[in-house]
């Protein structure tokens, strides 16, 4: 009974957080900026232009990865992969539909974005798989690229325990995404 109330309370808190986060943060940032003497309108427009540039930069990656996944899915290879992944997914308690995302997330950010949009298109953005995929995408990072970039910049070759630690954090994020979604969205 008590546990049940706690779950409901947490669900309400998380739902409120999700609903309020964007409007409150936008209002806070803009008011704070105005009080600090930032020309909010001009700076916003300048930043928005940067965002459009970023999106344009993502587009070719999105096309490349969606095309590859499209071939993989329409040929029937995805169905075979999902059957093969059913057992490891079951052991971890992860829906098999999001397993492709689990595999690609540490490797490539744009690739993962492509896989997420494929999951949204196939199962629906508000399906359980869609919610888990979105949560996972927002809570894990591209490990190999970041490591190569940061350590490459200073010439580190012996990366020691970075990859095992980062992969453990990634796996924790994956499992947590599923568990949290199951608690919140049921």
């Amino acid at each position: 009974m008590k546990g049940c109330i706690r779950v409901i309370a947490m669900r309400l808190l998380i739902e409120a957080l999700s609903a309020f986060a964007v409007p409150l943060l936008v209002a806070f940032v803009l008011i704070h900026g105005y009080k600090k003497g930032v020309k909010v309108y001009e700076v916003f427009v300048e930043g928005a232009a940067e965002g459009i540039k970023t999106s344009v930069r993502i587009l070719p990656y999105l096309i490349a990865i969606l095309m590859a996944i499209g071939i993989f899915r329409s040929s029937g290879a995805m169905d075979i992969l999902l059957v093969l992944l059913r057992i490891p997914a079951g052991l971890l308690g992860i829906p098999a539909e999001v397993m492709p995302l689990v595999l690609i997330r540490p490797l490539s950010g744009s690739g993962a974005l492509g896989v997420v949009s494929e999951i949204f298109a196939t199962y629906g953005p508000d399906s359980f798989a869609g919610r888990v995929a979105g949560t996972m995408m927002g809570s894990t990072e591209t490990i190999f690229y970041t490591t190569a970039l940061y350590f490459g910049a200073v010439g580190i070759r012996d990366t020691r325990h970075v990859l095992p630690s980062a992969l453990m954090a990634d796996m924790a994020g994956v499992v947590a995404s599923v568990v949290v979604c199951r608690l919140i969205f049921g």
């Binding site: 998380i14 739902e15 957080l17 999700s18 609903a19 986060a21 940032v29 704070h32 900026g33 600090k36 930032v38 700076v43 300048e46 930043g47 965002g51 459009i52 999106s55 999105l62 096309i63 969606l66 095309m67 590859a68 996944i69 499209g70 071939i71 993989f72 329409s74 040929s75 029937g76 690609i104 490797l107 490539s108 690739g111 974005l113 949009s117 953005p125 869609g130 919610r131 979105g134 949560t135 927002g138 894990t140 990072e141 190999f144 970041t146 940061y150 350590f151 910049a153 010439g155 580190i156 990366t159 325990h161 630690s165 980062a166 954090a169 990634d170 796996m171 924790a172 994020g173 995404s177």
Partner: protein
């Protein structure tokens, strides 16, 4: 690595299509995917622009610095071997604050700068120090407050409530960061 994955998806798909006789579906699928990715992009671009616009204001108004002041004491605990006033500490704090706000483009150069500062404290220049490993794991388990790109993608795919994953993502990311810190601090004694 991503080259291998990409090629694997395409080649395996075509081989499976040849075996299963689904080549016609694949042919239609390629064309459909290429054009649907542009539709997806159109849905995404507005939200990305909105968000980077707001965050540019945050950057200009000194919100990154304000957030940095908040997280500096916590970070001090994680990096016992870095002197509190060392420039590496300042750069790491700024990098994490920028990452929290989703300012990826601003965070990366600061992060590389932090690495360079950490390298100055490194007695063996090709081997990562404990501090470098901890910093990198913090970075890869990113605590991002608003996952703007995936919200944009959710909205572009016709979600009735695209921001519903903010709370769940925040909770999941907190768990993954804690797990990462536990792992990196435990494993640093073994390597």
């Amino acid at each position: 690595m991503i080259n291998m994955v990409w090629l694997f998806l395409i080649v395996t798909g075509i081989v499976v299509a040849a075996v299963q006789g689904t080549m016609g579906d694949v042919s239609a699928g390629i064309m459909a995917e290429a054009s649907s990715s542009v539709e997806l992009f159109l849905g995404l671009v507005g939200i990305m622009a909105l968000w980077t616009g707001v965050m540019r204001v945050a950057e200009k108004s000194g919100l990154v610095e304000a957030l940095s002041r908040g997280i500096r004491p916590v970070l001090g605990l994680l990096f016992p071997d870095i002197p509190k006033s060392h420039p590496a500490m300042g750069a790491m704090v700024m990098n994490i604050a920028a990452n929290m706000l989703g300012l990826g483009n601003a965070a990366t150069p600061i992060g590389i700068n932090a690495m360079k500062e950490l390298q100055k404290l490194n007695p063996r220049p090709t081997r990562a120090t404990n501090a470098m490993c901890t910093f990198l794991v913090l970075n890869t388990s990113s605590v991002q407050l608003i996952p703007a790109t995936v919200i944009g993608l959710k909205a572009a795919s016709g979600s009735s409530n695209p921001t519903e994953i903010i709370g769940t993502a925040l909770l999941a990311t907190a768990i993954s960061t804690l797990a990462g810190i536990a792992a990196v601090k435990t494993l640093e004694r073994l390597y």
